[in-house]
Symmetry: C2
Subunit: 355 residues, 2 copies
């Protein structure tokens, strides 16, 4: 980067918030994926006006800007493709307002996922999306990637909870979308257009999230199947019966083998493992729903190694297995490629043939 350009960036970002030191450039060349690309400079976002100044500078000089949260992306989303400035949002990490009576929270993009949950839980609320990287990833990253997670089947994805955004556009102009109301259908739905746009439409500097009442009781079960297709059929049957588990995940034999080999978790040796979780306002409600589901999975041949967890602690060990997978498979690369595909629910049984 030319000296004149660099001097201007320092002025826009603040001297202490910009760097071209090698250690920073190397750090910002990676995320959790295989990809690599070195930026020309790094900058740390401090507030909306500063982000606006940085983008105005970049716009004027045609410099790419790559916004970044915790860098947990598995697909290189925060890795510079052709130099430019990595804009680290993680220092903008304040929760600005928690308004429980309005069912919303207003925060900066750098707030870490678990930090938000820690603030919401004592009030009896939570932010339902549940990315596997929750302990480190930022809410801004969740918004940029429209993060889902294992509770998506019941609770949806990040966009279902974003009521409004503050966004700095490429030319540095500041835009506000959405509202602070639970229901607002005026004008074009620009909020959700920005959610999942991965920084390509602008840099998110403020987020208003809808929060949901924390389910008071959950029941969890895992069951083994001799055939993967049977696990798929069980999922179809459950959906068709109008049962909406908050988690419904199939682990195929490759995942099961990896878990058995690479972790000390008590995982049965099976062609497929189906993980289910139901929740409710009462334990009876969650149990009843699970029992309905178990009748159907048994009919499909599942249940050999049924484990049913009724407490959050018991359930945690089950999800520990699921969450461990991403990291373990990543360590096994390049032997395994991590893909993230979606199919209609009824086509799940056919996934076996794709394998």
């Amino acid at each position: 980067m030319e000296e004149a350009l660099w001097a201007e960036l320092q002025k826009a970002a603040g001297k202490e918030n910009a760097s071209r030191q090698l250690i920073d450039l190397v750090f910002y060349s990676y995320d959790a994926s295989d990809h690599f690309g070195r930026p020309q400079a790094a900058a740390w976002a401090t507030d909306t006006e500063q982000v606006s100044r940085i983008l105005k500078w970049a716009h004027k000089h045609g410099v790419p800007v790559i916004p970044r949260g915790a860098g947990t992306s598995l697909s290189g989303m925060t890795v510079p493709a052709r130099g430019g400035v990595v804009l680290d949002m993680s220092r903008m990490n304040r929760i600005l307002a928690l308004r429980v009576p309005d069912r919303l929270v207003i925060l900066e993009p750098g707030v870490v996922y678990t930090d938000l949950q820690r603030v919401l839980a004592p009030k009896g609320f939570f932010f339902p999306p549940d990315p596997a990287s929750g302990s480190v990833c930022t809410i801004g990253g969740n918004v940029a990637t429209n993060a889902g997670g294992i509770r998506g089947a019941k609770y949806g994805v990040t966009q279902d909870y974003v009521l409004g955004l503050e966004v700095v556009l490429a030319d540095g102009s500041i835009m506000h979308t959405g509202s602070k109301c639970m229901k607002s259908v005026s004008g074009y739905e620009l909020t959700k257009l920005f959610v999942g746009s991965e920084g390509t439409l602008g840099v998110v500097t403020g987020i208003t999230l809808k929060i949901a009442p924390l389910p008071r009781h959950t029941v969890t079960a895992s069951m083994a199947f001799e055939h993967l297709a049977d696990a798929g059929r069980a999922v179809s049957r459950i959906v068709q019966a109008g049962i909406v588990p908050c988690v419904m995940e199939i682990l195929d034999s490759i995942c099961v083998k990896i878990l058995r080999r690479q972790s000390d978790l008590d995982v049965p040796d099976a062609e497929a493992l189906l993980l289910l979780e139901t929740d409710g306002r009462t334990l009876e409600e969650a149990t009843k729903e699970m029992d309905r589901a178990l009748v159907l999975t048994n009919e499909c041949g599942g249940g050999g190694h049924l484990r049913k967890a009724r407490s959050l602690e018991e359930a945690a060990s089950l999800w520990q297995a699921r969450r461990a997978l991403g990291g373990i498979i990543t360590r096994l690369r390049p032997s395994f490629a991590v893909e993230d595909v979606t199919v209609p629910i009824s086509r799940v049984p056919e996934l076996e043939s794709v394998r």
Copy 2:
């Protein structure tokens, strides 16, 4: 409309699907609002290719096209502002596929709301948005206006259920958005950009909707308050307690007076009426949730005329009162203006001062 233009439109739409007869032009000059504006021609959509031809024609000649469902709009959305062609979508009214195991239904925009529900109910599913004009309005209209309804507090609005769209753009090109999967976060969220865009971005010719399991049990209550602000406070308390009723509506004294004067419903004379409905997979679940809510509303001074309905039939008479309001108030115009405002939940108590 010039003869040459008209001849071309007839060719694009099909002779039997276009009209410039006075009776049609007058019919399409109105919707359920006060607004009025006569089109130069009317056309009836029959299929996607035909809609594409009509829009290509309009694009070439700079003729405005106003898509229209059942015309139940209360704000003139389907009334021509400067001539052009009203494109009536109501004949494209086929349900193309109901895929219960995939939790979705694929349909044309002219399907009437209640006709869809009638097909879904026997399967144990429903389309949760609940517009007051449900008995006549079309799903295409619901999509175009992002319709909500009285269950919005729990079940959200139309956009929460639109998985994908087929849209004919202004130049006649045909575009497909979204997917047939419950969870799909690839690419920009264009589906929801079209939902609520009121025909300004294109004409919706195909809709894929997510469907939800029909709640098996509902409990309904209405309670009177001496002060409107107390009803507002009760709403805040309920939300804060993490209770999510599927319906939570305040009727102020004006609405209560109108209902008492204009209908034969048994409505108590009160400053405010709060309507609540909870639902669940069991009657106990719905009742428990309502009982929790009633403790809070009692603390806020509500309950003088508490009526609790435990069956769908009993509840129906309550909602009959609510649904009747729109029609009654419309008949009272111009003395009353119908406005549709949204405020953060915590500001509901202050609505009294606005009145």
